[in-house]
């Protein structure tokens, strides 16, 4: 089998994957290999000493949430004594935005790929402000997490249990036509999600005050759908991983220190990493570029699956992140066609005459043209607990694609 054929197989698996949001369940019950002292995090594997502020903060917060430690100091001491294990979400079929920290008791979305049978997982979105995914762990943050686990999570679990699931590919396709790109802008998608889930919630929830609270929370948070979207993208890209001879990128993820990629035809745990860059973008009131943490989060799974920054042309509202005009947004997507192997069959963009989004990053094209993928991203404060300070654009370092190319050539004796 030659490379082009292998890539055709890989991108077809990616595009034909049909991620269905099936359930909300407790992480330890559903995530393969999950255990009580294991804390999953975004991006390539990393040890405590090299973790950035937001990631450390999120891990401390998760330990407090789990009740394994009673204070920050205790949590840190436990970590340093080696009583806690860390692993990349990606080694467990999971993804999480920003720090992406997921612990055993947390409720997670369960997405099933109806086409190929693989499953993927993602935690629930906490909304804006001081949140665990940006490394915040105050009592207020923990209180919200408990509510999310005990009220929101249960409501969603019951609602989904009463349904055949939510077809995420259809939802994403529709949101793309409504001005979302599925990564930084999820307003339409979150409302579509609310539309689909609310009748189910109404069917299963008894307490109308709690129901109101749950619906309000989903509706107020323009990022509600981001986590199931990420899990859906993970289900798609996992389906494309492990195709012998394929040069298609199946993971792009950052842990706040390193940027890492994985390639379909290379190993399951074979990461190519380099120091993550600091995103450039727009900042919330009171913050500036100087506050920004190096790139963090698994949300680049959306770009890996062919949306997000790759679908910029369809999301005119966020063009400022790439320079200012709708034409620049168009150019952003056109540029990504240069390094992708295919165009999506299912994700189309009205502004490009319904052309499919650029799909399947080919490391050969990245290296040949020197064009790295565009990633739309939220920007975390470099200190734990401050939260999101802005949103912008980042690209992975070219060197990791070159390393991957060399490793590929070695493995296949080219």
């Amino acid at each position: 089998m030659d490379i082009d054929q292998a890539n055709t197989t890989a991108v077809n698996r990616l595009m034909e994957a049909r991620p269905i949001l099936k359930a909300v369940a407790t992480a330890r019950d559903v995530i393969p290999g999950m255990k009580d002292n294991l804390f999953l995090h975004a991006g390539p594997p990393i040890e405590w000493a090299r973790m950035s502020g937001p990631l450390k903060g999120a891990i401390i917060g998760a330990m407090l949430f789990e009740g394994v430690a009673a204070s920050e100091a205790e949590a840190t001491a436990m970590v340093e004594r080696g009583e806690v294990e860390f692993d990349s979400c990606h080694h467990h079929g999971a993804v999480g935005p920003m720090a992406g920290v997921t612990s055993a008791s947390m409720k997670v979305y369960v997405v099933e790929n109806a086409e190929h049978g693989n499953k993927s997982f993602s935690n629930l979105n906490e909304g804006y402000g001081k949140v665990l995914r940006y490394g915040a762990y105050s009592d207020e943050v923990l209180k919200k997490l408990y509510w999310m686990n005990d009220v929101l999570g249960v409501a969603l679990a019951d609602a989904l249990a009463a349904s055949n699931g939510v077809d995420m590919r259809a939802l994403m396709s529709e949101a793309l036509h409504m001005g979302d790109e599925g990564h930084n802008r999820n307003k339409a998608g979150s409302l579509l999600y609310l539309k689909l889930i609310s009748p189910l919630i109404a069917k299963t929830m008894k307490d109308s005050a709690a129901m109101s609270e749950v619906l309000q929370f989903i509706g107020d948070n323009a990022l509600s759908v981001l986590n199931p979207v990420m899990a859906a993208c993970k289900a798609m890209t996992d389906a494309a991983h492990g195709v012998e001879g394929s040069t298609i990128v199946t993971t792009m993820a950052r842990n706040g220190t390193d940027f890492g990629i994985r390639v379909s035809g290379l190993g399951e745990k074979q990461w190519f990493t380099a120091p993550a860059e600091i995103p450039v973008g727009l900042f919330f009131s009171g913050f500036s570029q100087a506050d920004a943490n190096p790139d963090i989060g698994d949300s680049a799974i959306t770009e890996t699956a062919g949306i997000g920054g790759f679908a910029m042309a369809t999301a005119p509202a966020i063009v400022t992140f790439v320079g200012g005009t709708p034409k620049d947004a168009m150019n952003a997507t056109l540029e990504m066609y240069e390094i992708t192997f295919a165009e999506s069959k299912y994700f189309t963009m009205p502004s490009l005459d319904f052309r499919g989004t650029p799909t399947g990053i080919d490391i050969r094209k990245v290296v040949e043209l020197g064009i790295t993928p565009r990633i739309n991203t939220g920007i975390a404060h470099k200190n734990a607990g401050v939260g999101q300070v802005g949103a912008g654009l980042v690209r992975p370092p070219l060197a990791i694609f070159e390393e991957a190319l060399v490793a590929f050539a070695e493995k296949y004796k080219i």
Partner: protein, 566 residues
């Protein structure tokens, strides 16, 4: 001491991205310390509060736009609030123009952007040019290859594959072309018209096309070939494809063919192909001795400007017969049986420009040596008066016996389509050569399967003892085509025989040539600008060396193109 001013706009929705930009604009104003511009949702209010930007007295709903400015003094705060509308407006006005069209980095990206492009202009450094050209051909595009320093091996390989696909590779080192009225590379602005040009010389093509314009005529297409196209190694692949295309192009009435001196064998095949066009062709091979001034539809010029003049004149006096000259061509061999050495030599000299391979027992070049004078091969001109045949025999001007036997021998060869001979009259010669030859010709005609043409050149005067008129009449009665000079005979033969009709290439699709020119430019941006200013559709590729010049990576990538992955 700072002051905080705010402004609430009820029901004015803006996207958060617009608001962040507005906020950045406010922060840039003098005297402004901090600013917050948000939709007044609870979450956003919290965020402002966290930054001490939320005065307690504010009442605003989630649907309201809330603008808060912290400034050094009242004046600065009020000024900033006062500029909100202007800042929002500025954003709008900067929205449309100034943004550039997307410039693809790869040829395949450019093709997706302009799928109707049939042409790719390549002017990248030579060592990368062949790779780009190969990609263009793989994408089914004609190539204008301006780059030089492309190896001969690459040129041959590129043109070989182009010939298979019916695509033109103009170049390497091709400076000039005009397709459908659009100049590629360096080209003059000339009017459209009916003269087609095939040029292996860029400046030559410019000189001729400009002169044609100045003389009031115009150009259909001027197709460049690159300077090496007419060398033996390349075999004029592009020139053949171009001639063939112009021959089939209804808009082209006259063709001009320009080259620096071609290799002799290539000259033969290309001149022959020029005859095969059936259209008037003006040939100017700089420094190459023309075989004649005019042979059938071909006219040989002696300078660039004369080539243009002849072409324009030809166009003015074009008659229908010109187009029909070659329709009865004979694709078999000619065998010339001469009694006079110089006549044989002159005939060979004339024919070698058209017929290849051609052999003789008294050759002009070494490659023409007939190894066995008793056996003809391909086209052959035999001097029967040569010493080889003379041992123990009378000269063929006196004794026709040898020629008669050889005539029968040649006629028995089914590959022979024409027998040429001379009849030299005068004192000392045989008294009735026609009387001896005609019965033999008639006899051959009876048994011969397939067409066999006899051509004679009769040399003599009205006062010669043999009776010139009677000799000619006898020959003509036997169906022999009779000429009085070698030059006329040569012209006739060249028009009847076409040995090197190139059919080992796929003809260029004329529809593509006639479509409004759409091109992809890889390399010099000035070529792109020039295409656009001429009204052509074009996409410029923002080309960089593969892997940004990292040779290790580039080598790896080259191996991975279509390489087995397992």
């Amino acid at each position: 001491m700072t002051v905080v001013k705010w402004n609430v706009r009820a029901g004015a929705y803006y996207d958060s991205v617009v608001l962040m930009q507005l906020q950045r604009g406010l922060l840039g104003l003098s005297g402004v310390v901090d600013a917050g511009v948000v939709m007044a949702t609870p979450a956003n209010r919290e965020l402002l509060a966290a930054n001490n930007l939320l005065p307690e007295s504010i009442t605003a709903n989630p649907d309201d736009l809330l603008i808060v400015v912290k400034a050094e003094n009242d004046q600065a705060a009020n000024d900033a609030i006062g500029q909100v509308d202007e800042l929002l407006l500025r954003r709008k006005s900067s929205n449309s123009p100034n943004s550039l069209d997307f410039r693809p980095r790869s040829l395949s990206g450019a093709v997706k952007q302009l799928p109707e492009a049939n042409w790719v202009l390549i002017s990248v450094p030579g060592r990368f040019a062949a790779g780009v050209a190969r990609e263009a051909l793989d994408l089914g595009k004609h190539v204008f290859l301006y780059s030089d320093n492309v190896s001969l091996e690459d040129e041959i390989a590129l043109k070989g594959s182009a010939g298979e696909k019916g695509l033109l590779v103009m170049g390497p080192d091709c400076g000039t072309a005009i397709i459908n009225g659009i100049g590629l590379g360096f080209a003059n602005r000339v009017r459209r018209g009916s003269i087609g040009v095939v040029g292996a010389s860029g400046t030559g093509t410019q000189a001729v096309t400009a002169q044609i314009h100045n003389l009031g005529a115009g150009i259909s297409h001027a197709i460049g070939t690159g300077g090496r196209d007419l060398k033996s190694e390349v075999g004029a692949i592009t020139a053949h494809l171009a001639l063939d295309a112009l021959a089939r192009d209804d808009e082209t009435k006259v063709i001009v063919l320009i080259s620096k001196p071609p290799s002799p064998d290539v000259a033969t095949s290309i001149i022959s192909a020029a005859q095969g066009t059936g259209k008037p062709v003006v040939v100017f091979f700089i420094g190459y001795p023309p075989p004649a001034r005019k042979i059938g539809n071909l006219q040989f010029a002696i300078s660039l400007s004369e080539a243009a003049e002849i072409a324009v004149r030809k166009l003015e006096t074009l008659r229908i017969e010109d187009a029909e000259i070659l329709h009865s061509s004979n694709s078999r061999f000619v065998r010339g049986l001469f009694s006079g050495g110089t006549l044989a030599y002159e005939t060979l000299l004339g024919l070698q420009s058209f017929l290849s391979p051609i052999y003789s027992n008294s050759p002009i070049t070494n490659s023409q040596i007939l190894s066995d004078p008793l056996r003809s091969k391909a086209h052959t001109i035999i001097d029967l008066g040569d010493e080889f045949f003379m041992v123990g025999r009378l000269h063929p001007m006196i004794d026709n016996d040898l020629r008669i036997r050889r005539m029968k021998q040649e006629a028995a060869d089914a590959e022979v389509g024409m027998i040429l001979f001379d009849v030299v009259l005068g004192e000392g010669s045989h008294m009735d050569p026609a009387g001896e030859l005609v019965p033999v010709i008639n006899e051959i005609r009876k048994t011969r399967i397939g067409e066999l043409e006899f051509v004679a050149m009769v040399i003599g005067t009205d006062d010669d003892p043999q009776n010139l008129q009677s000799q000619v009449s006898q020959l003509q009665a036997a169906g022999v085509t009779v000429f009085r000079t070698a030059a006329e005979a040569v012209e006739h033969i060249s028009l009847r025989l076409s040995t090197s009709k190139k059919d080992d290439f796929t003809p260029v699709n004329l529809d593509q040539l006639k479509q409004p020119l759409a091109a992809i430019n890889v390399g010099l941006e000035s070529f792109y600008d020039s295409l656009i200013s001429q009204g052509a559709q074009a996409v410029h590729v923002e080309w960089k060396p593969p892997a940004s010049g990292n040779e290790k990576m580039a080598a790896l990538l080259a191996k991975m193109k279509g390489k087995k992955g397992n």
